[in-house]
Amino acid sequence: MMLNCKQASHLLSQSMERKLPLWQRLSLRLHLMLCDACTQFSRQLHLLRAAIGRLGRRLENDETLKLSDEARRRITAAMASRSASDAEARRNPDQNLTD
């Protein structure tokens, strides 16, 4: 079966997710031998993967990104309220059942 570019591009994207069946790999290889546009597309897919990974790691290591003071206060308050209600539940186990 001869693939057109639309089919080939969909298979190329799928090949980033799973090992394609043999016949699809062969059809793709044949298509890529004849098609410069899909060959470029295939390179772009691999480059996208590498670049997205790099962007993610860059964010993860960017120490200028911090929890805002406001978020920190909110989280601290939520934690305090949680431990207060936990303590309350420990003091009044029976009452807690009916709440």
Binding site: K6, A37, Q44, A50, I52, I75
Partner: protein, 188 residues
């Protein structure tokens, strides 16, 4: 069980790290703050920190689950709105191809990968393009590419079929490469 004092120390010491970790995956400051809060609350409960790994590793493990939960909540919402849209074989691709299946605008050579990956401008444009993707596509794409979740896991977590996942990832990649060609290659 973790004492409350411990938990507050964890927020002080690891809060910024957890926030960045979440931000790299969710790309949304408010959602990232929310999952850090959920993580800290979860860390206060249950069997707690057992000391088998560093607190940071342990907290990051909790955070990962909270991020997946967040993806799942959001994706369910948008998927429910448009169930038929992702069901076709390759829907919504007509803007990229002629009727005979040829590219309407053939993909261009982008240049040497190693040097591109060093270019801040390329990475920044990619970030801008990610921000412009439809949210549900951006999320599944990040889950796949940054969290490196495999397809089986994605389908399980988001409750979609493998072919749905492939189509959504395909559409995300097509959208990104087109956006990059217009805004980065075109601007060079």
């Amino acid at each position: 069980m973790a004492s409350p004092e411990n938990s507050h120390d964890w927020l002080t010491e690891h809060g910024d790290y957890l926030y960045r970790y979440a931000l790299a995956r969710l790309r949304d400051p408010h959602l990232a703050e929310d999952v850090v809060q959920e993580t800290m609350l979860a860390a206060m409960q249950g069997s707690g920190y057992a000391g088998k790994s560093s607190p940071r590793t342990w907290l990051t493990g909790i955070l990962k689950h909270k991020i997946i939960d967040q993806f799942r909540r959001q994706s369910r919402e948008v998927l429910l709105e448009t169930p038929e849209e992702v069901a076709d074989e390759a829907p919504g691709m007509d803007e990229f191809f002629h009727d005979d299946g040829h590219w309407s605008e053939p993909p261009q050579a982008w240049g040497e990968p190693a040097s591109l990956l060093q270019q801040d401008q390329f990475l920044q444009t990619l970030q801008d393009c990610m921000d412009r993707l439809p949210k549900k596509l951006a999320r599944i794409f990040l889950l796949r590419e940054v969290e490196e979740t495999d397809n089986e896991e994605i389908c399980k977590e988001l409750d979609i079929s493998p072919s749905n996942a492939w189509v959504m990832l395909y559409r995300a990649r097509m959208g990104l490469r087109k956006c990059l060609e217009m805004n980065w290659l075109g601007a060079r």
